[in-house]
């Protein structure tokens, strides 16, 4: 299973974990492994820019949202 949106791709093997791959960082580095599904993941949608929706064999639909870090930086006046 494969879906793509911008620079994020995902695969959904039968172990119930959805792996997200950032194609910018190389082919072997996963950006995230989303666990919690049972019965294997049968559907993935990466169409939304901030959210991944997944569906499994038990009829459950889940939504995953990226966590956001904010770094406040103060510049110095010259």
């Amino acid at each position: 299973m494969f879906c793509s949106q911008a620079l994020t791709a995902s695969d959904a093997p039968a172990d119930g974990r959805v792996r997200l791959w950032d194609v910018r960082t190389g082919p072997r580095e996963t950006a995230a492994a989303l666990g919690g599904h049972r019965g294997g993941v049968h559907a993935v949608s990466c169409e939304s820019p901030k959210t991944v929706f997944t569906g499994d064999g038990d009829g459950v639909v889940r939504a995953w949202v990226r966590f956001i870090f904010y770094f406040r930086m103060y510049g110095q006046l010259v």
Partner: protein, 314 residues
């Protein structure tokens, strides 16, 4: 002073934000309804039902679109269900509870939109509510926000492709069109997004990246392909001209509704037909299992024997 924002998918591994038990069998397709909301979505399953979901941690509300007589194999969103604008709003620390909704949520069941009325409540009876063909229970205000050209397109193993659109007040939905294009099962469906945002349709179709923007493509398991016209104008006409339509309801359960278009002459009708078909016979049976398409006219096809091909829609 400036802010630096970094979004990291690794933190998503801590658990899903929201979920719902949508189908009695496996989920075969899922699509977002709004780019700025993570708690509403549409899904399709092997039970032949298309659900418009509020991910409330329960059964997902009461909107169930039935009519397919076999497992639904493809589901795409048609039209704009809400545009994503800018970054998510969060507090200064990362532990704020807004969680990507652009507003503070008291719980994942809080579906009251910023410009609409009530939230989750309703009187859901059973998994899909009381009505047969097009039912709803609760979350009505959310689903009334779709514009006149919004809807869903679904494809099924029964060989049909259906268009669904909201109908009137009270979050009722109806089947605006049902069409047959393939001689066998429809195994995949994709929509030309036009590249870039990958979001809703509309806009100019004359740019190089949006030549086929809004078009739907379906693939049959016999390696036949159908290119469908943009459904947004059709849905707009169906919603404007379908005022006399009365949804078919069943008191005995949603499965009692037949597979034909319940709208009949009053609905969108069968005028929605493919604008182009393609079928290339192969020496050996080649079963298509997935397709992807971009607005520039490139169609990527994967088959069960591991072959991935790229073709032009021209």
């Amino acid at each position: 002073m400036f802010y630096f924002c970094s979004q990291d998918w690794r933190r998503a591994g801590g658990g899903a934000l929201a979920s719902a038990t949508a189908h009695s069998g496996a989920v075969t397709a899922v699509t977002p309804l709004r780019h700025d909301r993570a708690d509403v979505a549409a899904s399709a399953g092997v039970d032949g039902v298309v659900r418009v979901l509020s991910l409330d941690g329960g059964s997902g509300g009461g909107v169930a679109l039935v009519g397919h007589l076999a497992p639904v194999t493809g589901l795409v969103r048609v039209g704009g269900f809400g545009e994503f604008v800018g970054e998510f709003e969060t507090g200064s620390n990362g532990s704020d509870s807004k969680a990507g909704h652009g507003r503070r949520l008291s719980s994942i069941a809080d579906l009251t939109g910023p410009h609409r009325g009530r939230g989750v409540g309703g009187d859901a009876s059973g998994m899909y509510g009381r009505n047969g063909a097009i039912s709803h229970a609760g979350t009505t205000s959310e689903f009334e926000a779709f514009n006149a050209a919004s809807g869903l397109a679904s494809a099924s193993a029964d060989g049909t492709v259906r268009l669904w659109c909201p109908h009137g007040a009270g979050a009722r939905w109806r089947c605006a069109a049902v069409a047959h294009a393939h001689a066998s099962r429809v195994v995949a469906m994709a929509r030309c997004s036009g590249g870039g945002s990958g979001g809703s349709g509309g806009g100019s179709g004359t740019s190089s990246g949006g030549l086929f923007r809004g078009r739907l493509l379906t693939a049959g398991d016999d390696a036949s392909f159908a290119r469908w016209p943009d459904a947004e104008p059709f849905l707009r006409r169906a919603r404007v001209g379908g005022g006399s339509y009365a949804p078919v309801e069943s008191s005995a359960g949603y499965r009692r509704v037949g597979g034909s278009n319940p709208g009949g002459a009053g609905g969108g009708g069968a005028a929605w037909t493919p604008e182009r078909m393609h079928h290339k016979p192969y020496r050996a049976p080649r079963v298509v299992c997935a397709i992807d398409v971009c607005g520039a006219g490139a169609l990527v096809t994967g088959t069960r024997d591991g072959v991935v091909t790229c073709a032009s829609l021209e």
